[in-house]
Symmetry: D3
Subunit: 324 residues, 6 copies
């Protein structure tokens, strides 16, 4: 994997000019208002697992348009008093899986809410949440990036981003959670959703961890990588050149270079210089645009792994300093 | 591409024992009744093209649950009197594209109705028809084969097969069409849909052409090939081993080995001995199960191309003998 | 597929300095004079096909050195009076196939002459014309680009270009054709041959359509792509470094950057920014060199498909405006 | 991934005849006696991590020939009284990584000892233990499977298996561990080592979990898969055909089909029918040879993932029933 | 590389029934008579090289139809008296290269005649001999296996086999050569040509070495491997299914299963069990058909390398015992 | 293979600034002094081969730390008087193989000493020399480039470079060798070792031939290619980002950009512009740094073959002019 993107020096200076959709604020205000209006109380049911040291709840909450979204809530067994909470979002294609697959944050003493990803959850880790449409705005390349891409209102990521915002907003309703001490974390698609939640949620967030995030400077990404999922969008534009402009405009509504200027919480990013899935220049573009205090962890030799266990350790320290 | 599947001798004898779902008849009777109940009249609007020898209509008709499905109707320019009609279904990932991409059957003197494929039409030929859900029955692997696969009622192919049946049933409403002289044709997914329409439609069909059809003996296909789209289902089962049985049961409802025994129209099949996408043994399984008179064209050296122009020529002759 | 070549802005300015062979004019004058001297009248025999709306002739004409070349001539059935004619050349590896594979231009009201490609016609669409040598000038990499490449006079493309020029020159002899209204079209290798014919033919051409043409700025192509067929030449030079200069000099005789300055007919080009087979900078080099009026259709997201049905539509309009 | 190996029915009956080396018992008796004679007491040093719910020790113990081997010991924080202990071995190429990468068994209430793999730990998870030779018996293909393969006494896996046996034998010396309640677990190479430890260790083992184990029926594996690491041995034999017999004889000393008849603890195996890395027939061969009570978990749709989270859950239940 | 073909036991018993063309004898008798009638004396010109221990001649002789074929003749420098001679043929795509690339047999004390391969010699080792056609019998897939394949008389391998026979027949005319002590050797395509020469040459041959030969049981080869060059023929048949029978019949004329029954010289074959380019069952078919005394060297772990230096050593011994 | 690295013009000017380790001189002085102190006399035993024109000795000499290293010595049979000697080093993964695989230099009248490569010799040509450690400095990626890379003193290439220097220093002890006329040659890893020997040996060297050398400007190589073996180091750094700096520092001790300034013998280099294994800019960096007279042979069209037979011829001429 060669250094195919900008050099590290260039990345630190790379602040591309981007133009957000004119109605971006209104679009999200309306979308979120509608979701909040349709909201029902979250439900958390204790589940039995073989884990004696972790208490698990199967959570259902209402996301986009009041649709039911699943999540796991893991807490250290026997915790007394409300705990700081980490809300985690998942990478492309995966779902919430099983409770015993999410042990890191509970082992560090946090309540840990893992949001399932609507419609995904069948490619590498199972999920339980459907995407109840409307998938009614046109054709799509297999995958999620072009599902409904011809209309921002019917776009898949409008629904998923809304779910993520809502997950943060309802975290405080859950058992054992101290809503005042909340962090959002995620890797790849999950890292993009963490940034989205930090930009759009109506509740205070203390810390953001965004590892090699997806959904950043999409217009550039599609010209410098041929790796999926960005390449799904390339294939769509190839087949529909007369609709390419419309499709790219739709993605602007969920592009972190446009959303993150409104975030204010301290954030830790990571970028990997050999990452062809979420190229480093797209991550740096979102980083430079981010509105709050921020740190960047660069992995010079990594592809999309983006630091793995090293970054997990760094994330634990970053969040602990701000939230615990 | 080696001869990875059964030998030709074995294929001629290959009649696997298969067990259809107990409620297969009821399932489709109810589904189709519902679609017919929700039907509105088809609409056909003349469109201008650069083709002086072909008259084109942009057709909208109601498919599954009364949802709008697009199609093209091409007729030889200046035809007098109603023409025999060929209804064509499209391979996986493609859509109806542009009218000038469908010239074969009009050049042979037929009215030619090309049904768009809901939700597809972005991978290799553009489409215009959304899949308005409900995609509400669970997670899916990118693609269409596992969309809603946990419940036969929410399964994508329930909707698509219904569209295909309805396309045949409304063909007679269209301008310049002689409903008594109707054939169905298709390749791969389109070949599967042609068989489905031949098995389920309520109107008489004179000829069926099914080239290297998809959706045949799916339970075997997933164990002998690692090529998409069948491999989408393998990946689903891998991630959800506890739901694999349910997923496979759902696919039984749209498997041609179960549906084709009720077909009666003369049919021309093709199979290709080096076809890893629709392996020949799965095609032969559907062929042997087919209820009407039938012929099989074998391509010894082909992969999924399945005879290309050679088979097109054969198809023209086959249909002409029965329909013209 | 990333944007691996020049950016679109650079492409519009990309006018490389190239040096044609000193005897280029003489070379072709002599070659064509010899072909014309050896010419016999074209023969067109009606053939039966299943197409009722198209009349087909099996054409034989004399190409390079008086050798027999095959072609199909398709006309709209029942046409009265001579028709404008489109001469089409075929992409690398393919042949003229069957008449029913060539319906577009007849459907638009043209006589359509499809020239078979000598020696090819076995890789993806069948052909019927041999390449009767002399293949007597040295070793070659499997393929056609290096066949006889050590000597311009024995080079395969000298023969093939001559065939293409002759196809245009004899089109007026064919039944139902109005020689005063003639266009040449082609994609990839066919696009290169269309340019060659436009540059060298002795009869007037009204329109040229050259889609992602091959045989353009070959010296650059071999340094920026590793895709066949250009890579055939790289392999040859690798094995014969002491003959690389001679091989490249031979290709200069059939390079469109040298030939197209003498063309005068209006031309429509297409280039695709992600095309690794005929990289966009090589296409733009020929475009900028082209001597007649010209338009460029750019496909930003395409590889070597170069616009497919979209460009076909555009071509129909372009030719109709000039020829009909 | 097709079903390339035996069918499930055949697997249940697949009991190949194999011939162990005549001196197998003596070989291991001598090797282990030497390691025990060279042993020094294990050292366990508390390490600080960001995990508040887990107590971690950095362990050093003496393995083969008294050489120092690293491990992590994770315990639930605040545990009172000695805990049952799970000794885990790691897959090919990985090392012990960081303590926070091993949370499953501590979360279930066990002491968890993770043995580092000598010389590995640089391909996908870092390690800290060198392989201090002697690598003095000849050439090797990159990788570990052929390191020293020409002589059983100098073979890499002689050293690694000894480490694994010793890890089990010293587990009782560690803080917070109840030596009478001990299980061994591992996946792939780790699954092979778990079987080796169950076969050779001098202390009682209550439960064995061996997920898609490596090092099973190696002589068959090298003829039915071309995936690494088994293919490393194929490449060696290809280059040294005159030494192939010697190399295969060496691997017999560490082949689980020969060692597992002497195991007595209850064991849970898994095999995956599409596993090309550790083909199912090789796993079944070891399963059938295994001397103790045993259960087999078959994953029909998996490759080498071998059940992932599903099997982890199953493993937790299996061990809990026997050990807790 | 797995054992994809028959097992070793099966190979020893594998004697497929094959039917030679009825006029095989006449075909070759006529072809060779024509070549001999057109023959001119061979010419051998001393060439300077940097090799002080080897004397090299640049040889030209007449092959098929009296066409000029190049070769190198290497002799140990300072040899006195005529030497036994080894005639070598080259693998697919290569040419005679440079004299210093052929040192083995001269180093063992032989005169060594290396025949160039007409038209090849540009893919991996340079060549100097053209293939002056006629390439006039139809289309071909890039490569040589289908060049002229529709007519045995125009087939490329008719010409090449004739060259090989003629090389053997003229070897005795060359300086320093003892025509009574002659061996033929070759690998892959060269191994097939060695068998052809042993079957058809009019002069006595003392020893034959045929390493993993090509051109053996071609009808089976095309169904069990997808590797080139056999796959060239598959692609041809795929595009021309109506000409597949004719193409296969043509290859029968140069298939060693038909030609080798007439050979009488002692022969050493090699086959490699993991060879996907020249599968072992095709080699064994020719071996079992071979008319003279024969030995088979099996390489269990090799692909198409077929034993490399090990087999070279074996070949030196085999030839020395019979020829020196 | 495109021109992925610098252009030829840039390469001629490419003189990167590099910083050698401060103790580089001391490191090698000490290492070599230790090896010389531990040295025992070389042993050369006549071996029988089938080659009548070459006399072969099986050589053992002491390399790093007095460890035994194997080599072949080939001489023209019947040579009188001492001969000039060429010492050759081998590419990555290979070993000395069999004597009959090394005929070029003996055929040109030289004594030819081919040094085996410790621990390698199992990937493409067999070897006989173990690497007797200590491999005791940490984990490694499969392969040799990271074996012991965390400590310059335990690094694999410290041992191998020392072997190479010692091979040159003992060549004069061997039968039939004139120590005053000595050249070193090699390709890839062998080309790097030739440069290392030219830089560090204590005996006079008359000529150096370094074909597409490995081990040149490693810090750049790992950022511009993803081909092995350089990519082994990338994988190591990826897994051990906290140890990447240490690993790169270790490689500085064996990087030819640091060692070659001290070489004085005339040298012939080759670089290939499409070489992704040893990219041309890394070769040019070593070339520009080289301390003696030097020539560069550029292969514009080659990958890592780097000129093959053409360069062999050039090497014979280059060495003959300086040494014979």
């Amino acid at each position: 994997m060669t250094l195919f993107d900008l050099s590290l020096d260039e990345l630190w200076r790379h602040r591309p000019r981007v133009t957000p959709p004119a109605d971006l604020d209104g679009f999200w205000a309306e979308t979120l208002a509608e979701a909040r209006a349709a909201a029902a109380p979250a439900v958390a049911a204790r589940v039995r697992t073989p884990l004696t040291q972790v208490t698990t709840y199967d959570v259902s909450f209402t996301g986009y348009a009041g649709q039911q979204i699943k999540a796991w809530l893991n807490l250290p067994a026997g915790a007394v008093g409300p705990l700081p909470v980490v809300v985690e979002f998942i990478g492309y294609g995966g779902g919430r899986g099983r409770p015993h697959e999410w042990l890191l944050w509970a082992a560090a003493g946090y309540a840990h809410l893992v949001m399932d990803t609507r419609g995904q959850g069948a490619s590498w880790r199972g999920g339980d949440t459907p995407d109840p449409g409307p998938d009614g705005t046109g054709p799509s390349v297999p995958g999620y990036l072009t599902r409904g891409v011809l209309d921002p209102r019917g776009y898949y990521y409008r629904r998923l981003v809304t779910d993520a915002v809502r997950a943060v907003e309802i975290a405080g309703e859950l058992p054992g959670v101290d809503a005042d001490r909340l962090a959002v974390v995620g890797c790849s698609q999950g890292g993009g959703l963490a940034l989205a939640a930090a930009s759009l949620a109506s509740v205070p967030i203390r810390a953001v961890v965004s590892q090699v995030p997806f959904l950043c400077h999409i217009r550039r990404a599609v010209t410098i990588t041929d790796a999926d999922p960005y390449a799904e969008l390339v294939r769509f534009c190839r087949i529909h050149p007369d609709r390419a402009a419309a499709a790219l405009t739709t993605t602007d509504y969920v592009d972190m270079v446009h959303l993150t200027p409104r975030a204010t919480a301290p954030a830790l990013f990571s970028a990997a210089l050999m990452d062809e899935i979420c190229p480093p220049s797209t991550v740096f573009a979102a980083y430079h645009a981010y509105g709050g205090p921020k740190e960047m962890e660069v992995y010079e030799w990594d592809g999309h792994e983006g630091g793995r266990a090293h970054f997990a350790h760094r994330s634990l320290e970053f969040v602990a300093a701000l939230v615990h």
